[in-house]
């Protein structure tokens, strides 16, 4: 039954002859392990096509969605981390195998007449593969891909005459953005694969035409590829696959850095390891000589590689072979040396390590936020993931703008001249201050701010009454933005609060609240809605207002911050950060899956 169906198909397609051709290719000198590279490469390419196709079903190419979709693949989808990890590391395996294949062809002298075109197609395959790496690196739109690719396209832009236009076309404009992603994606999945298949087909057809290059002492009679050579090829491919799987498992899949952030100045950009030698080479040519490192020498090396098969025409055959091998090993040795040097340079480069550490924290934070059911990636895009995280953004702005004077949990960046802002606006902060306003974390360091210390010396309130007042004042923080003092005082919870009277009689001697207290004993900031976003915003924007610290001497006063220094969104981030209103980092950092 099965056989007759097969016959029926064979009669109409002749597939058996095709299969026969494929499997029974005559191998000159018999099956050999050294012939396995080509088929291992073909296998690896098929793996890339397969995993790549799977990734395409989940990847979303735009600057706002790319990171989120890759995150989703790696952290949510079944086996997504594995599929993406395989794609990531198989790409690297492909480079390694290509290099080994080139070496083997070179040593065997298989690039020479009449196989010049084999060599050239092989070189074309090498460049197409590098093209895959370069374009693929950007697609997750994370910090790593963003910065590394930016460097690469800037190098392209340095090319004479057409450089700038070429760069603009590739990048899809002057700035990196949506068009960059779609263009790179198009090249990666639409242009390069058919190109690679075409080169591969031509390469294989030529290998078939000329046969493998047997070693000199090999027996003259060829033997068919099936089963011995096929078996060897399969063993090699399975070997390669196993190594890749082990690497993927060891790394727990491919890394995903924090979402691309064009404003982040200190990201330690590094290319993928096989470009590290070029990266290091560049450092040898500072300033105006740079083009020599980026274009002239690499270009010359490529040119020589392409011309190697023609060397025979002007030099004796074996001498040309010797020169060719010498050249390629020289280049590889140099590249190896530079790679090691690049790695060692980074090894004890403290600023680099610190920046990398920071980048890793951002990465883990971004992933934790995206995973959290209550947070997730904002609809505007992954670029806003960390910018809307109080722990990241609030802390960053606080460090940049405020910690020169203030401290946070005791930590500041200069000589302390103002309070500790940790948990500012909460009952904790308030109760602590009422206990000891002269403490270092309150008004000890703020010049001219001795009002609460004066109050402390004279007040008759007992600790339990302080608790009640603290409860009352801590409630100010939740007064909505559109509620006026009189409306607020009319609310039942406020009017009947036991702290109201205490506040009026004691605190009200200095602190004015319309309709509740008159002040007058000495100047003091207004406390209505203290700790709420509006109180806070006014404190930051107009510390010199009469209901803030306008009564102080200018030199003692906190400077005002306009929206150009602290945007409204950032202000909100600071407020939430100070009140600990954000997703708490897990005790153990989320595993890099």
């Amino acid at each position: 039954m099965f056989k007759s169906l097969a016959d029926w198909i064979n009669d109409r397609t002749g597939y058996r002859a095709l299969a026969d051709q494929a499997f029974n290719e005559p191998i000159p000198g018999g099956a050999r392990w050294r012939y396995v590279f080509g088929s291992a490469l073909a296998t690896v390419f098929c793996m890339q096509a397969f995993t790549g196709l799977l990734l395409m079903t989940a990847y979303s190419p735009s600057s706002s969605t790319a990171w989120g979709s890759v995150f989703y693949i790696s952290h949510v989808m079944w086996m997504g981390w594995f599929i993406r990890g395989m794609h990531h590391f198989t790409a690297q395996a492909m480079i390694v195998l290509l290099a080994l294949h080139v070496l083997q062809v070179l040593l065997a002298g298989a690039y020479r007449r009449p196989r010049e075109f084999n060599w050239w197609f092989g070189m074309a395959l090498l460049f197409v593969t590098l093209g895959f790496s370069l374009t693929g690196y950007l697609l997750p739109w994370d910090q790593k891909g963003y910065w590394a690719t930016k460097v690469a396209t800037n190098i392209m832009g340095g090319a004479p005459v057409i450089g700038p236009s070429l760069q603009k076309v590739f990048v899809g404009g002057v700035d990196y953005g949506n068009q960059t992603v779609t263009r790179f994606y198009g090249i990666h999945v639409g242009l390069l694969p058919p190109l690679l298949v075409a080169c591969l087909a031509a390469h294989i057809a030529l290998v078939r035409r000329h046969g493998h290059t047997p070693p000199q002492k090999a027996p003259a009679t060829p033997s068919p590829a099936w089963p011995e050579q096929v078996f060897m090829n399969l063993v090699a491919s399975v070997g390669v696959l196993s190594v890749i799987i082990l690497v993927v498992l060891a790394h727990g899949g491919a890394n995903l850095d924090a979402p691309a952030d064009p404003s982040n100045g200190d990201y330690p950009a590094r290319p993928e390891w096989y470009f590290l030698s070029l990266f290091q080479f560049l450092k040898l040519f500072p300033g105006r000589l740079e083009a020599i490192g980026t274009m002239v020498i690499p270009g010359a090396i490529v040119l020589v590689m392409l011309l190697l098969p023609l060397l025979d025409r002007i030099l004796p055959r074996s001498f040309a072979h010797f020169l060719a091998c010498g050249f390629v090993f020289g280049v590889l040795g140099g590249a190896g040396f530079l790679t090691v040097q690049a790695i060692r340079d980074d090894w004890d480069d403290r600023p680099f390590l610190a920046a990398r550490e920071k980048a890793d924290q951002a990465r883990l934070r971004a992933i934790a936020l995206a995973l959290d059911p209550g947070v997730g990636v904002p609809p505007e895009g992954a670029g806003y993931l960390l910018a809307r995280d109080p722990l990241t953004q609030g802390r960053a702005v606080l460090e940049k703008r405020c910690l020169g004077c203030h401290v946070h949990d005791g930590k500041g960046l200069g000589t302390q001249s103002a309070s500790d802002l940790a948990r500012f606006g909460t009952r904790d902060w308030l109760r602590g201050m009422l206990e000891n306003p002269g403490a270092g974390s309150y008004f000890k360091h703020a010049k001219g701010c001795d009002g609460m210390m004066e109050w402390k010396r004279t007040t008759k309130l007992k600790p339990n009454e302080l608790d009640v007042v603290a409860d009352f004042v801590a409630g100010f923080a939740s007064i909505p933005d559109d509620v006026e003092p009189t409306e607020w005082l009319n609310q039942k919870e406020v009017a009947e609060h036991p702290g109201l009277k205490l506040f009026q009689n004691d605190c009200g001697k200095c602190h004015v609240i319309d309709g509740l207290s008159e002040g007058g004993l000495r100047d003091a900031p207004g406390l209505f809605a203290w700790g709420s976003p509006r109180w806070f915003a006014r404190m930051i924007r107009k510390p010199d207002a009469l209901d803030r610290y306008g009564y102080l001497e200018t030199s003692n006063r906190m400077p005002a911050f306009g929206t150009d220094q602290v945007s409204d969104a950032d202000l909100n981030m600071i407020i939430r950060y100070l009140k600990d209103d954000y997703l708490k980092p897990a005790a153990a950092p989320a595993q890099a899956r």
Binding site: F71, L234, S237, A370, P379
Partner: protein, 174 residues
């Protein structure tokens, strides 16, 4: 010949070893959506009883937070329901009908002069209680759970759910 045979068998095994480690995860990857569960929303407040006229259906939007794969959306309309106030004394006093057609999921709208409901995709027709009026829909319009407050003019709250289309029974989508 024995050697040939052995190599052939080993090759077959190696072929499997080469394809399965990618094929099996690949299938799992494609099947990932099967792992997802729809978040079951609670009751959403839509309006107050006094806003509804007896026997006159009105369409209300359901606002919910939503997660679409990696994106978290703030509260926004995710669906709509028809609310129909019943004559005095009826239980329940308000009926909520999902506006999603049980046939193939298109949106159900009101017929001219509010005499019933119609789905413009395949002309499924229903009367004002949601009962089918022709053979297109497999079942009546889907009723949703309604909860009313206790005051004189109670808030109307509806539990929004979606159901499998094309089936004669009302099966919630999870």
């Amino acid at each position: 010949m024995l050697r040939r045979e052995l190599l052939a068998r080993l090759s077959a095994g190696l072929g499997a070893a080469l394809s399965l480690p990618l094929l099996i995860p690949g299938i799992a990857y494609i099947l990932s959506p099967l792992r997802l569960r729809r978040e079951q929303g609670g009751f959403e407040t839509l309006t107050r009883l006094s806003e509804l006229e007896v026997g006159k259906p009105r369409l209300f939007f359901i606002q919910q937070e939503r997660r679409d794969a990696w994106v978290k959306y703030p509260r926004e309309p995710v669906g709509s329901v028809w609310l129909i106030r019943q004559p005095k004394g009826a239980n329940p006093p308000v009926v909520a009908l999902s506006s999603e057609c049980p046939h193939l999921g298109c949106a159900i709208s009101l017929k001219d002069e509010s005499k019933g409901f119609i789905c413009h995709c395949h002309a499924s027709a229903f009367d004002l209680s949601g009962k089918p009026e022709n053979a297109a829909p497999p079942r009546p319009m889907d009723t949703l759970e309604v909860a009313l407050g206790n005051d004189a003019d109670p808030e109307i709250r509806v539990k929004f759910e979606r159901f499998r289309t094309q089936s004669e029974e009302k099966i919630p989508l999870v």
